[in-house]
């Protein structure tokens, strides 16, 4: 097979797997029993297949119930009388004709014992320990440091350690078995937590690019003003010296959260986060400059101020059909007349379903907002609701 044919074949295989249902592998996926590449394929498929997502939800619910038992029930204590009863049975069994006991082969036993000890030592040294106590760091260029030590070609980042890159350094962190993060020059990253269901970094300054193939909500990045929650995706996160952050999503979805304020950011969209304000309103990166500038003012302006009102007006005036993502989030970030203005503009761009009345939207009815979301064609509201819970809800 020549190179182009091989590429085609690989692409075909990849596409086929993307579309192949994954229902038989959902428990393995949930329990982290799949190889990383398989896990990533399942995550990708779940994003596009409602049938498998529904089944995954069912399995997750069943697993949660089963886990409840082991959480709630202590290990049972065998009855005290069991040994004496057993001894009688053993005596009875010994009285019956039987094969010679191993005790008559002392040399063999001694050899077996020695072998057992040797085996124990071998198993002890080579047995893979889980969870991993540290994440692997690979130097890409320059001289990144973990704490005060320069990373040679590779190093280990333990919980509490800082990875620091200067202006000419770059490094890659292997996030357990679930993904990888590239840390760009001028960054400070700390490993905060490394557990089976929570992998957490803190980005104090700089820029990182994350590619995660684990089930949603297993990888978190703390920034000074928001937490980025992975929902199965690839994204870039930057934090400036002033603590302001910028999230750009390449694939999948990311939730940006801070003290009850939430933004859900799909592929090709961005979201700014600011100290004291938390995550701003998400927008597509190809939105007009005027739209982006007005939105930035709206996000920080005082509620009820003219500046905020004017910014909202510009945002709405400059919005395209594709900016429905932003307008839908604005419904939860406005109230009164402002919410009505957002409602009217969003209804012009994407007419709501008949059941979604202005009254329902004005009172913030989650079911109505969900129904409208479905019409935005950004993906089902259910799939991220599954992994998160309520719709973005807050007002500043």
């Amino acid at each position: 097979m020549n190179a182009p044919q091989a590429r085609q074949s690989t692409a075909h295989r990849s596409t086929t797997m993307f579309w192949t249902h994954v229902n038989k592998r959902l428990s393995s996926y949930l329990h982290g029993e799949l190889r990383p590449e398989e896990s990533r394929r399942v995550a990708e498929h779940l994003m596009i297949c409602r049938r498998c997502r529904d089944e995954y939800e069912e399995i997750k619910f069943g697993a949660r119930l089963a886990a409840r038992l082991s959480d709630d029930l202590a290990r049972a204590q065998a009855p005290a009388a069991l040994w004496s009863e057993l001894e009688k049975m053993i005596d009875g069994a010994e009285a019956a004709p039987k094969r010679p006991l191993a005790a008559r082969r002392p040399l063999k036993i001694a050899l077996a014992g020695a072998a057992a000890l040797a085996l124990a030592l071998v198993v002890f040294w080579f047995y893979p320990r889980s969870p991993r106590p540290a994440w692997d760091v690979t130097r890409i260029e320059g001289a990144p440091k973990i704490g005060s030590k320069t990373v040679g070609e590779a190093g280990k980042l333990r919980v509490g350690d800082w990875l620091v890159t200067d202006d000419s350094s770059r490094a890659e962190i292997r996030v357990g078995e679930i993904g990888q993060v590239q840390v760009d020059p001028g960054s400070r990253v700390r490993l905060v937590e490394s557990k089976a269901d929570e992998h957490r970094l803190a980005l104090a300054r700089g820029k990182m690019q994350a590619f995660i193939w684990a089930p949603p909500r297993q990888f978190y990045v703390d920034t000074p003003s928001a937490v980025a929650v992975d929902l199965g995706c690839a994204y870039t996160l930057e934090v400036g010296d002033d603590g302001q952050g910028l999230l750009s999503v390449v694939a999948g979805w990311v939730a940006f959260e801070w003290q009850g304020r939430e933004s859900f950011v799909p592929a090709m969209a961005m979201c700014v986060t600011r100290p004291r304000f938390g995550p701003g309103t998400p927008y597509f990166s190809d939105a007009s400059e005027d739209f982006q500038n007005a939105l930035a003012i709206f996000d920080v302006a005082e509620k009820g101020s003219d500046a905020r009102s004017n910014a909202l007006q510009t945002t709405l005036a400059k919005s395209r059909k594709r900016d429905a993502l932003t307008l839908w989030h604005l419904l939860a970030r406005t109230d009164g007349d402002d919410r009505l203005r957002v409602y009217n503009r969003l209804a012009e761009l994407i007419p709501p379903p008949p059941q979604v009345t202005p009254e329902a939207v004005m009172r913030g009815d989650h079911a109505a907002l969900d129904m409208w979301w479905e019409k935005l064609e950004l993906g089902s509201a259910e799939w991220w609701r599954i992994w998160k819970g309520p719709v973005p809800s807050q007002t500043k």
């Binding site: 082991s70 065998a78 040994w83 124990a120």
Partner: protein
């Protein structure tokens, strides 16, 4: 567990098994003490009945005693034990299909008056300040236990080994004498069956 402790435990178990293989009854008593609660828990959660769990546990240790001379140290002892328990549970199921006694949940609802039969003790619930919350949890656990008992035996055993013993798929496959794919399939079906039976608990 610390490295030294792991080594010490493995070496210690190796010595214990070696002594059992020489026919040392005291050593076997020690081995019994080390594993009796594990075997009892699996048997009790699988059968849902103390009498059946008692039979299973006794048979497991009797077989262990009579066959330990043939145990090869290149195998993992715990896996061997899990396999004995799983087989014995399935035998017990075949012998006696009426495995859910009416008083199965009684100890779970006992508030401490009947300590001797507290095999289904609830973790730390007595420390929870909110009585209403505690009762709600008890109700859910009771429903889940009842649903577990209604699963097909192979699915039930997979759920018990996964959630009470926290075994990996590989360990479960060895213990159950099947492939990891079969383990995954049984867990899939078990999860779904629990979810469907208890759909009313989903909020």
């Amino acid at each position: 567990m610390k490295r030294g402790a792991v080594m010490s435990e493995m070496a210690s178990e190796g010595r214990l098994i070696e002594a059992c293989q020489r026919g040392d009854r005291e050593a076997f008593h020690e081995l019994f003490d080390a594993h009796k609660d594990r075997v009892w828990t699996i048997a009790l959660r699988f059968t849902g009945d103390e009498n059946s769990a008692r039979d299973v546990t006794q048979q497991v240790f009797l077989k262990l005693f009579t066959n330990i001379a043939g145990f090869r140290h290149e195998s993992n002892f715990k896996t061997w034990l899990y396999r004995l328990v799983a087989n014995e549970c399935m035998d017990e199921f075949r012998k006696n299909r009426r495995l859910i006694p009416l008083d199965f949940f009684r100890p779970a609802f006992s508030d401490g008056g009947d300590e001797d039969c507290g095999e289904v003790e609830i973790n730390d619930w007595r420390q929870e300040p909110n009585q209403e919350e505690r009762l709600a949890r008890l109700e859910v656990s009771k429903a889940v236990l009842a649903a577990l008992m209604k699963l097909k035996p192979k699915l039930r055993m997979a759920i018990v080994l996964k959630y009470f013993e926290d075994l990996s798929y590989e360990q479960m496959a060895e213990a159950l004498g099947c492939s990891m794919g079969t383990v995954a399939s049984r867990l899939n079906r078990g999860h779904k069956a629990l979810a469907r039976r208890l759909a009313h608990l989903k909020q």
